[in-house]
Amino acid sequence: MKAYRGRPSIMINKPADLKKAELEIKNLHLSFGGVTAIKNVDLKVHTGELMALIGPNGAGKTSLLNCITGFYRPQSGQIVFNGRDITDLHTHRLVEVGIGRTFQNIELFPGMTVLANMTLARHIHCHYNFISSWLYAANVKKEEIRHRQILEEIIDFLEMQSIRKQTVGSLPYGMMKRVELGRALALEPRLLILDEPFAGMNLEEKEDMVRFLLELNQRWGMTMILVEHDMSIVMNIAQRIMVLNFGEKIGEGDAQEISMNPEVIKAYLGESETIE
């Protein structure tokens, strides 16, 4: 049985300039000691796009995401977001700029409830000061109500009503992934970065997640970058796909182009050798 779906209003009806997310990566280079993780990669993501990043294991997909979200520092190259150079910005400042993310291995606060996990994400949108919050002034109350409305909207959207007050550590894996997505959404990001959102899920959970992502992209107008191994999903939902192999970009285009690209086929299937 599917739970009741609310009608999100706050998040959908955001003005277009709050949804603007133009990401441009120029000539990015990242290495760890002697190992080169990313070699001169260029990437452009435009507002409202759902872009997928694929590649064999160890191709540098997660490294690239970590560069965008400030967890790794590239040695050279530039990352520009909405016309602003964010290459050297502190990790915590990137959230304010509007980049939210989820992780490949779930990173939640396991001892806290779902709601508490998501509430922490709202701190960057808190504007009241120490004194007025002590007095619980009218503006504080109004703001708190709005925070809760947004959280409830996300909870409705992700169909998490029944687990709202459960401890995250006790939830099944697929549900935790969903909570993590909800927490990233609570940041109200312009650009959402998802690191393997379908990993370890069963078919039904995957279907739900695809539904959420498509709705986010199409109805909410959320710009997303997605790393995923499940080709059938990627080919179906991504508008544009970029393929990495050994840190190098070997192909970019829509699903059709990628599936015909000889370089990509070689990377995934290996080279054919004639046996004599």
Partner: protein
């Protein structure tokens, strides 16, 4: 019975103090998983700063107390900035060795300036602070300890529960990566945890100095006593540190009162071993369950 109650009250007072100084230790461990071996020296530094302010600068007690706390708070920030921050990302053992080095440095500094003798504060606690409950007599310093400890506990309780910085500290302690991805300034949290740890250490240093006199070796050995307290309470539980402190404080005073004063430093460790045999993660520690 009176003797028992007397020991009980003294034990709880001393224990609260241990608990609060252990809280500083736990805070650093929780946020950055660094074991701070310089904790006892921070305690001693606080006590000696206070000594300098009231004997050399002849400041009023309250002013000197607040200045010491503020000074140690800033010192904590500086320690983090100049010693710990360059080591972020290095192996944990390097960082722990660094705190051992800091301990030696601080101890040397104190010995250089004040020497290894026992100093005492001029007595400033008024006799009106002493309480007589029936046959139990509570000395002024114990009353003051109790009051200060409870004030600190309430303030820190509110700080962690209600203030945004406190919530950030809890989030970093819980999951650093997640906190970072939500825009928490993790480095500031590290700095703040060192600053607060230094502040509570200096506070307990001053009170212990009033109780037993100010001596480098005695005070820095309290840093060692923090270990049974935090291990007993569970290394990552702030509430556990307080309870652990009270248990160790009680054990010490009861051993000192009933068995022999020379055993008081040993018995807590013996009891600790037995408790750990039954509860290996401490009384309130996080039990790590591998979920397969």
């Amino acid at each position: 019975m009176d003797f028992f109650l007397q020991l009980l009250v003294n034990g709880v007072c001393v224990g609260l103090l241990y608990g609060i100084s252990a809280m500083g230790f736990v805070m650093i461990f929780k946020s950055s998983s660094v074991l701070n071996f310089a904790h006892g020296e921070l305690l001693a530094l606080g006590a000696f700063f206070f000594l300098a302010l009231i004997t050399w600068a002849k400041l009023p007690i309250i002013v000197a107390f607040i200045l010491t706390l503020v000074g140690c708070f800033i010192l904590g920030f500086l320690i983090e900035k100049f010693f710990l921050r360059p080591l972020i990302g290095e192996k944990l053992i390097f960082v722990i060795m660094l705190t051992v080095g800091l301990a030696a440095m601080f101890k040397g500094f104190i010995l250089l300036i004040w020497g290894g003798n026992l100093h005492t504060y001029p007595s400033f606690l008024s006799e009106s602070l002493s309480l007589n409950l029936g046959a139990i007599h509570i000395a002024p310093v114990y009353t003051a300890t109790m009051v200060i400890s409870i004030i600190f506990l309430v303030i820190f309780g509110l700080f962690f529960k209600k203030s945004s910085q406190g919530i950030y500290m809890r989030s970093v302690a819980d999951n650093q990566k997640a906190a970072l991805s939500l825009g928490v300034h993790v480095r500031r949290v590290f700095a703040l945890s060192w600053a607060i740890a230094a502040l509570v250490a200096s506070m307990s240093g001053i009170v212990l100095g009033v109780m037993n006199g100010v001596n480098v070796h005695d005070l820095s050995s309290i840093g060692l006593k923090v270990f049974p307290v935090v291990i007993l309470g569970g290394l990552d539980s702030i509430g556990g540190a307080i309870i652990g402190g009270i248990i160790i404080g009680l054990l010490e005073t009861f051993t000192g009162g009933y068995l022999s004063p020379s055993l008081r430093d040993v018995v807590p460790y013996i009891v600790l071993v037995f408790i750990l045999l039954i509860k290996p993660y401490g009384l309130f520690g996080l039990v790590e369950i591998e979920r397969v």
